[in-house]
Amino acid sequence: MGQKHVLITFNRVPYGSIFYTEGLRAAVGVTSGIDEHTVDLLYLGDGVNFCLKDVDRTDSARYLTTLAAQDVNLKAEKEALQDRNIAESELADDVEVVSRSQALELICKADVTIDF
């Protein structure tokens, strides 16, 4: 037993499957256990599409609100955004852009990783 730092990666576009929102539900669940694990949320590859500001967050808002209260924001990989021609101005306010090197640092910092 013990507190761990968990990196959760999101790799799929939103809406064709439920991973984009059920991954957030898992993030809330992981942080609210008695061990009080901490999490980072990292959007990679097609996953960065969730970070667009106009994405409908009806299903995910409550999880994001809970996570934001723990100072957990959304980190989107810069290279993935560039590959998809997504400008930073198109992203939601709670999204932080990180480089691939920074993404790698998040992996190294994490005790465990989970992918959705």
């Binding site: 576009v13 809406y15 064709g16 667009l52 994405v55 409908d56 198109e90």
Partner: protein
């Protein structure tokens, strides 16, 4: 009666490749199909539709080109009735 390509991911690209060469093709993007690059289709003169709700949910209103006509299920059913459906969804 044209060939109506119903296109979703992950393999909708296979449908797009065929529709580019099919002078009788009409394409409808459904679900994650709205993420597909359709510039080749538009360039080849094909009419491309997208399910409005699927574009909106994903926040892609400004990213899916305006040449792609947004439709509801009502219009989608009319297209299905009027054409031969080629499934890639």
């Amino acid at each position: 009666m044209s060939n109506l390509y119903l296109v979703d991911q992950p393999y909708g690209g296979n449908g797009v490749n065929l529709a580019v060469q099919d002078s009788d093709a009409v394409v409808v993007l459904i679900q994650d199909g709205v993420y597909l690059d359709v510039s080749g289709l538009s360039g080849a003169g094909r009419t491309v539709y997208a399910v409005k709700r699927d574009v909106e949910r994903r926040g892609l209103e400004s990213r899916v080109p305006s040449t792609v006509k947004r439709i509801g299920f009502d219009e989608l059913v009319d297209l299905i009735e009027a054409n031969k459906v080629v499934n890639f969804a």
